[in-house]
Amino acid sequence: MSVIYILLAISIIVAIGFFIAFIVAVKSGQYDDSYTPSVRMLFEDELIKEKPEKTILTKKTNN
């Protein structure tokens, strides 16, 4: 039994692991909407803000 078999087995198992991860990701709908998540990830901070009222800027008026 040569070490090459072990190495091959490991490499294939790792590759299949990633492959399964990919299938799971597609199945969960990750590739259905490629835009919204890029915006959503920026919201995290706003959600935990204590008193958001104070941060509102009064909108400038156009004269």
């Binding site: 294939i12 597609v26 959600l47 958001p52 009064t58 909108k59 004269n63």
Partner: protein
């Protein structure tokens, strides 16, 4: 006067300011939304984007149809005792604030457990507890904060739709196998002889074999199916040589490793499939926020109010409407069936159907056609025909709507593939025959090698990458094509047909001229004050055009539906309206839309409304006339004929009073005599013509709102670029032809190795990806250069 813009919706306003919490709002509606948000700690909404909101509309009674359990069930995606999931299309979704507020709906109502926005599709998927919140109340809540969902007949039973992700899976499998096979084939490429290889080569080879199995039997399945279909119908499409190449690659490689003759071509095989799928994926650019398949169902309401004999109101599903039913049509509601007006003043906007923006007045007893929108108060109607049998919807029963435009069109790739396949087989047979006499042991080897190396991967990739890239470039320039085929068809156009109203005219602008005796200042003041009271669209546009005057209070004001208006101030009276109403004899009438004025019963003159043509129309037509026949098919009367003849090139054909079926027949007739027709239209009345034509482009002032079923949607602001788009499509065909030349050169090199019997797997492994990549590179650079010219 100081102009301000609303803190909530950004609308500029000068009067009727509402101030709350130090912020100014244009109306109470906007203020209410702000109040709701600030009471629920949701004012972050305004931090993300300046004035992102929309003014909430009055929805009282509008969603009563959501009381009908049958309708609700058809809309829900998931429903058990407690939880319901619904996906709602919300046209207003346009910025990050929208995403944020809609994903925080649970703060407004705790019964909502999750809401996820898909920005591209402009929809929100809401999960809520049905025992605390009904769908109707959810929709009302959304409307209250300015995010009114749009629910149409199209949504009926749409809830259980599956998304097709098979191409991504196939691409993943092919990529995975390709990568692994590449690594496994390296040892033999680098060390041709030696003890190590001899001992371990079979392991590597059989591993490669097993990796290639899913590629051949799963990823490449579509190519086999398409090739089979092509052969059975007698067409040598591009998938025939591909399928041939793939099967030869697989069979020869399997035999080689079984008999221990060589490594096989598994790397080339999986690489080929992977590149082909990448091409397919690239071509599959879709504009998810647009719909190209709209028929009347996308416009029609899902439910309508029926008045029972007992006088009770009941919401019914539109398909359940029967002949003889009495319906209640509320303000701003669409009439779903042909019917007779029984009660109320009808002011019907048929712009969905005809493209004509001017509303028509109807009195009780008049027939109303499906597709009209009631603009003024509620009316009661008696149903004459069911939905499917109505005048408008019958248009869709025409065969043309079931026809697939891809059928019967030989695309450029398949055109070349026929000759290519025949030439390929000829070369293979000649070379094999030669080797049968020269060295018969090599004959089979050469035969398969020719089929392998000539596998037209590069040819198959040229069109998808060129058109796919151009599709994206066109999208940036606001021409949204449905698919790559549209661009290819656009290049072959030789006849262009335009609709008039809304297509070559700008909807928003009209020009008005006055003919007759001059009006005195007093008369003008009186006229302006009178018009102010009328809601008729012509009155509104005339009112906006007249000079500023002080508005006086009228002593008397009367409006006669379908005729005109009359008013009195002190001794003076004024009549405004149709020719017969103000007392003009019939022979003086013209076909143009006009408003006539008489003062103290003396005829004064008329205001004539002219269509305002899009700027640059003349120039565009002059550019187009060189290579195309130009035709205008208008549903309107011939009032504009003189104007158009002056404006457009002399050989432009003009046809007026064309019904939707006439337009369709006209196109059909010319297609039979060989014309390749591009139809440019806008309204539902063009839907038949758009479907019948080779390419149907819908012009849209706002691409997010309605446009009829078509092949491409063009933003109205880019109308003048139509010529450039056509020219770019024609250049794309040239690019593809050059790519074919390039790939033939690669094929010739490969064939040299194949015919002389020296094709080694390593040569195939280098040559095949190299040709594919250089084709992709060439087409991408060339189309980008083309795109630069568009700007």
């Amino acid at each position: 006067m100081e102009h301000k813009s609303c803190f909530h919706c950004g609308l500029d306003f000068s009067d009727s300011e509402v101030v709350y919490d130090n912020k100014s709002f244009c109306c109470n509606g906007c203020k209410t939304v702000y109040e709701i948000f600030s009471a629920n700690d949701l004012t972050c909404y305004y931090d993300l984007q300046d004035s992102p909101g929309a003014t909430p509309k009055e929805v009282e009674g509008k969603y009563n149809f959501l009381d009908n359990q049958k309708i609700v069930d058809s809309l829900l995606e998931f429903n058990d005792d407690k939880t319901q999931i619904v996906t709602l299309y919300i046209p207003h979704i346009h910025c990050s604030s929208c995403i944020w507020i809609l994903e925080n709906l649970n703060k407004l109502n705790p019964a909502i457990s999750a809401s996820i926005v898909n920005f591209g599709k402009k929809n929100v998927r809401v999960t809520y507890q049905s025992d605390h919140l009904s769908l109707k109340n959810l929709v009302k809540l959304l409307s209250k904060i300015g995010y009114e969902p749009f629910i149409s007949l199209d949504d009926y039973s749409i809830g259980k739709k599956n998304i097709d992700r098979s191409l991504i899976y196939k691409l993943g499998v092919a990529g995975f196998a390709f990568g692994n096979i590449m690594f496994l084939s390296f040892p033999e490429y680098f060390q041709v002889n030696g003890f190590w290889i001899e001992q371990y080569a079979p392991v590597f080879r059989w591993l490669m074999f097993s990796f290639s199995l899913p590629v051949v039997f799963y990823c490449a399945r579509d190519y086999f199916i398409s090739a089979y279909k092509g052969l059975t119908s007698g067409i040598l499409n591009i998938d025939v040589p591909i399928a041939l190449g793939v099967s030869v690659l697989f069979i020869r490689s399997t035999i080689e490793i079984s008999l221990n003759l060589g490594t096989g071509f598994f790397d080339s095989l999986s690489g080929l499939i992977f590149f082909l799928l990448v091409g397919k994926f690239f071509q599959q650019k879709t504009y998810s926020f647009l719909s190209f398949e709209r028929d009347y169902k996308s416009y029609f309401p899902i439910g309508i109010t029926k008045i029972k004999n007992s006088g009770e109101e009941e919401s019914v599903q539109v398909y359940d409407i029967k002949k003889g039913d009495r319906l209640l049509i509320r303000n701003e509601e669409l009439i779903p069936v042909d019917c007779i007006l029984i009660k109320g003043k009808a002011q019907i906007d048929y712009s969905f159907v005809t493209g004509e923006s001017e509303a028509v007045s109807k009195k009780s007893g008049d027939k109303l056609f499906a597709g009209g929108k009631q603009l003024q108060g509620s009316i009661e109607v008696d149903v004459l025909k069911t939905v499917e049998q109505s005048y408008l919807t019958q248009l869709w029963s025409n065969d043309v709507f079931n026809k697939n435009k891809a059928d019967g069109f030989t695309n450029i790739t398949n055109m070349i593939s026929k000759r290519f396949t025949i030439a390929l087989l000829a070369i293979a047979i000649v070379a094999t025959t030669y080797w049968l006499f020269a060295d018969s042991s090599k004959a089979l080897n050469v035969f398969t090698a020719v089929l392998i190396i000539a596998c037209p991967c590069a040819i198959a990739l040229a069109a998808p990458f060129t058109f796919g890239n151009l599709l994206r470039i066109f999208g940036k320039e606001k021409l949204y094509a449905k698919n790559a085929l549209v661009i290819e068809q656009l290049a072959a156009i030789n006849t262009i047909i335009f609709d008039k109203t809304g297509t070559i005219t700008a909807n928003k602008e009209t020009a008005i001229t006055y003919e007759g005796y001059n009006l005195s200042t007093d008369e003008e003041i009186l006229l302006k004050s009178t018009l102010r009271n009328s809601n008729h669209p012509l009155s509104r546009s005339l009112y906006n055009l007249l000079d500023e005057h002080d508005i006086i209070t009228l002593d008397n004001y009367q409006e006669y539906i379908g005729k005109g208006i009359e008013s009195q101030k002190n001794q003076d009276s004024i009549k405004v309206g149709s020719a017969s109403y103000v007392g003009l004899s019939p022979e003086n009438r013209v076909l143009n839309t006009a408003v006539h004025v008489s003062s103290n019963n003396i005829y004064k003159g008329k205001f004539t409304f002219y269509n305002q043509y899009r700027k640059g129309l003349s120039k565009l037509f002059n550019q187009l006339k060189k290579e195309n026949d130009l035709v205008i098919l208008s549903g309107d009367n011939s009032g504009e004929q003189e104007n158009l003849t002056k404006l457009l090139p002399a050989k432009t054909k003009l046809f007026f009073n064309q019904k939707p079926e006439d337009k369709l027949e006209y196109i059909k007739h010319h297609q039979i005599s060989g014309a390749k027709v591009l139809m440019v239209g806008d309204g539902l009345n063009d839907a038949g013509a758009l479907a019948q034509s080779n390419v149907g482009i819908a012009i849209s002032e706002d691409v997010n709102v309605f446009s009829p079923a078509c092949d491409a949607i063009l933003d109205a602001s880019k109308f003048n670029n139509l010529y450039q788009f056509i020219k770019a499509s024609k250049s794309a065909i040239k690019i593809i032809k050059w790519s074919f030349v390039l790939s033939f050169i690669y094929n010739a090199i490969g064939l040299y190795f194949a015919v002389t019997g020296q094709l080694k797997p390593v040569i195939a492994a280098i040559l095949m990806p190299l040709s594919s990549i250089s084709i992709v590179g060439f087409t991408t650079i060339a189309t980008n250069l083309l795109g630069k010219k568009l700007k």
